[in-house]
């Protein structure tokens, strides 16, 4: 089976879009980084506006009630428009969110449940939109209803063809609109369950964007609803062949194609799309070796401090009883839940946990092998810059061109504070860690925990003996090269103003840690 190892096109397109959005809004307010949480905000808007609409909606006269709502310029018109635009934007946000997960290879392994439940939520959103538009019962609603009936009539489900409802022989019965309303109201209840499933693997799911962004979104959509109220088509008339209808592209883009195909072909296509979607976790799965291997615990070093389970964003680590005679618990990693972000490695003071090759000790070895020699041959002090492997290559190249010693870690949260200490005590004027924008961190909480460890004494904290002015955490966002370089220049300027660092002699941070652990083990 061909595996989609590198969805490069999706990745490049997303990076371009991210870059544009970063230039427009800055990485803090880039809505593309928040597509999942933006979808939740829109869902809340839909619930609020939907509650109003359902109160004024009449099953017996659907179009008339919608027309009456539309005539109420003070409330009804913009509420209905806001409901529609929020539903459109919900679909778009959900698609972007899925696209991001696919492009960033976050659609397999422990994330499979989130991928599948996310797809189900998107599909439910499309069905929800379908029923909502039918409820309006304008020409577009009629078109959707007719297409739905045509498709269902191909299945041996109903003794009387559904399409006869719209033949014009009798008025469309209220029961039809009742069923639509029932589904339209019932599905959002399922959304709650779907959302819970979607984030159930996360330790601290973020459900909403920053408050400012949330309110800005609501305000922007409200203004749009007032300025450009959503069009209401002509009333549905089964005995009239409308020349054209206004169709809603975000929710009903499939309609023109569906109408051209035989019902069984449509069902076949839908099934193919569903199967393809479900296969994505299989097709994008990667062999879990090297940097993708699950974290492992060195039980000899584990002190049972319970920090790594607290820091793990994926609830992949639990504390269990030891098999030896030491009185502490020991961390255990569930490989099926671990995404190899390496955040646990940065949380462990004795450096006893992390993905193979990326725990604290491995990072120190790598530093000594590759970074330290480069640092020593340099006649001028060179700042050490750590970047996430997801960081844009152009930014890394630009930093190198400015004389920085650029190194990579799987996630900023993977970087152990002892490496920062080692670099500074080895003579580096400063260590600048470029993390991804917090809402775009593949490890979810890398920038957050890194900042806490370096500056707020969270385990494994940067030791007090290290001058904090020589360490800094920046953000590297696609399309914001000037921001990256400005951050580096500022940092380089600041550390240059400090007195030069003299390399410490006989520096062995690991031995210090091991000594403590061994002492504990010997008790």
């Amino acid at each position: 089976m061909t595996r989609l190892r590198r969805p490069r096109i999706a990745r490049r397109a997303l990076a371009t879009l991210d870059a544009v959005a970063n230039r427009l809004y800055g990485w803090r307010w880039n809505p593309l980084y928040q597509s999942g949480t933006v979808a939740v905000v829109l869902l809340l808007v839909l619930l609020g506006t939907g509650l109003y609409l359902v109160l004024v909606y009449r099953l017996g006269a659907p179009f008339a009630s919608m027309a009456r709502i539309d005539q109420d310029v003070w409330l009804g018109r913009w509420m209905r428009s806001l409901h529609r635009y929020a539903s459109d934007a919900f679909i778009i946000a959900a698609v972007i969110h899925g696209w991001r997960m696919l492009a960033q290879r976050r659609s397999w392994g422990p994330r499979t449940l989130a991928w599948v439940s996310g797809g189900a939520l998107l599909a439910a959103g499309l069905v929800e939109a379908w029923t909502g538009f039918v409820m309006v019962w304008d020409s577009f609603g009629e078109r959707l209803a007719r297409e739905g009936a045509r498709l269902f009539d191909a299945l041996p489900l109903f003794s009387e063809p559904l399409s006869r409802i719209f033949a014009g022989e009798d008025a469309v019965p209220g029961a039809f609109f009742f069923v639509n309303l029932f589904v339209h109201i019932g599905l959002p209840l399922g959304f709650g369950v779907g959302l819970w499933l979607h984030v159930s693997r996360l330790a601290r799911p973020t459900l909403l964007p920053p408050r400012v962004l949330s309110w800005a979104l609501v305000a922007a959509f409200t203004i749009a609803a007032i300025v450009w109220p959503a069009a209401l088509g002509d009333a549905a008339d089964p005995l009239r062949l409308a020349a054209d209808t206004p169709i809603n592209l975000p929710s009903a883009w499939w309609l023109p194609w569906s109408e051209q195909l035989a019902p069984l072909a449509v069902f076949g296509l839908v099934a193919a799309v569903c199967v393809s979607f479900l296969l994505v976790p299989v097709l994008t799965a990667r062999v879990r070796t090297g940097p993708l291997a699950a974290s492992v615990v060195d039980s000899r070093l584990c002190t049972g401090c319970n920090q790594c389970p607290q820091d793990c964003p994926w609830q992949a680590i639990t504390m269990v009883a030891r098999t030896d005679d030491r009185p502490t618990l020991v961390a255990r990693v569930d490989a099926a839940l671990c995404v190899s972000c390496g955040i646990c490695a940065g949380s462990c003071a004795p450096m006893g946990v992390g993905p193979p090759g990326h725990n604290g000790r491995d990072q120190m070895d790598t530093f000594r092998s590759f970074t330290l020699p480069a640092l020593r041959v340099s006649t001028v002090g060179r700042c050490v810059v750590y970047c996430c492997t997801e960081a844009p290559a152009s930014h890394r190249a630009a930093l190198r061109a400015r004389g920085a010693l650029v190194r990579e870690v799987p996630c900023a949260g993977n970087l152990h504070s002892s490496v920062v200490e080692l670099a500074i005590r080895s003579g580096a004027p400063g260590v600048l860690v470029f993390a991804c924008p917090p809402r775009d961190c593949a490890g979810r909480e890398g920038p957050r925990w890194l900042g806490e460890r370096l500056f707020n004494d969270r385990e494994a904290e940067l030791q007090p003996r290290v001058d904090r002015r020589r360490a800094r955490v920046g953000t590297m966002a696609a399309g914001d090269l000037s921001g990256t370089l400005a951050c580096f220049d500022r940092f380089a300027q600041d550390v240059a103003a400090l007195s030069p660092v003299l390399p410490a002699a006989d520096l062995d941070l690991e031995r210090e840690c091991v000594a403590v652990t061994d002492a504990g083990a010997g008790e």
Partner: protein, 216 residues
């Protein structure tokens, strides 16, 4: 200078947001052709019970005695639902020629017809024929007279009359063996003219206006 640049950035962001929202609003109602300006159609739509074609015979006393008491009927009928041929001509051109069967696996449930034929706007001569394909008689089969001939006494008291009455009701409820329509209809652009079955008049009727509200 920096403040001015920031103002420009904010303005560009606001403009981009407005453009995005305008695009969303535009995408929310894109006009898409459906039937075209010069479309018109004739739609046939009705539901009715197909006739039941039966062969009935009166059971002998011995045959009746052999049945469980609650299953005894003087007249026993075997049969099947009728099938119908639908032919539609507009200005003499055959638009539809098909067989219509009742619903269900045995085709003995009500038949539901829904056909829409595109026609050009203007006055058109519409000829429609809906005829039973089977040549034999319908519900009032041969057994009816035989049943009437049987003694209507004992546990069968009034039974034969009731069975005859029931058969008559079923016959009246079923679609007639032949229904035709031959008329000139004026099709306006975008108009659908509906031909349906009037169960009270037991004939095809043409409807051009809005559908009446169905009684609750």
């Amino acid at each position: 200078m920096i403040a001015g640049r920031r103002m420009i950035r904010v303005a560009v962001a606001v403009l981009a947001t407005a453009a995005g929202l305008a695009l969303l609003a535009a995408a929310s109602a894109v006009s898409l052709p459906w039937h075209g300006e010069d479309a018109a159609a004739i739609r046939l739509s009705w539901s009715a019970r197909p006739e039941r074609i039966e062969v009935c015979r009166a059971l002998s006393n011995a045959e009746v005695e052999a049945l469980n008491e609650h299953m005894r009927q003087r007249v026993q009928c075997d049969g099947r639902a009728a099938t119908y041929a639908l032919r539609v001509r507009v200005n003499g051109v055959l638009l539809g020629d098909e067989v219509v069967r009742g619903g269900g696996l045995r085709h003995d449930r009500p038949l539901h017809l829904l056909q829409t034929y595109a026609v050009s706007p203007g006055v058109r001569r519409v000829q429609l024929e809906f005829s039973r394909r089977e040549r034999t008689g319908g519900d009032a089969g041969t057994g009816a007279s035989a049943a009437a001939a049987e003694a209507d006494t004992g546990i069968f008291a009034g039974r034969a009359a009731r069975e005859t009455s029931e058969r008559g009701r079923r016959t009246r409820a079923a679609v007639p063996p032949l229904m035709t329509l031959d008329t000139a209809l004026a099709f306006a652009p975008q108009q659908v003219i509906l031909v349906t079955f009037d169960p009270d008049g037991r004939r095809l009727v043409v409807r051009t206006g809005a559908a009446p509200r169905r009684a609750p």
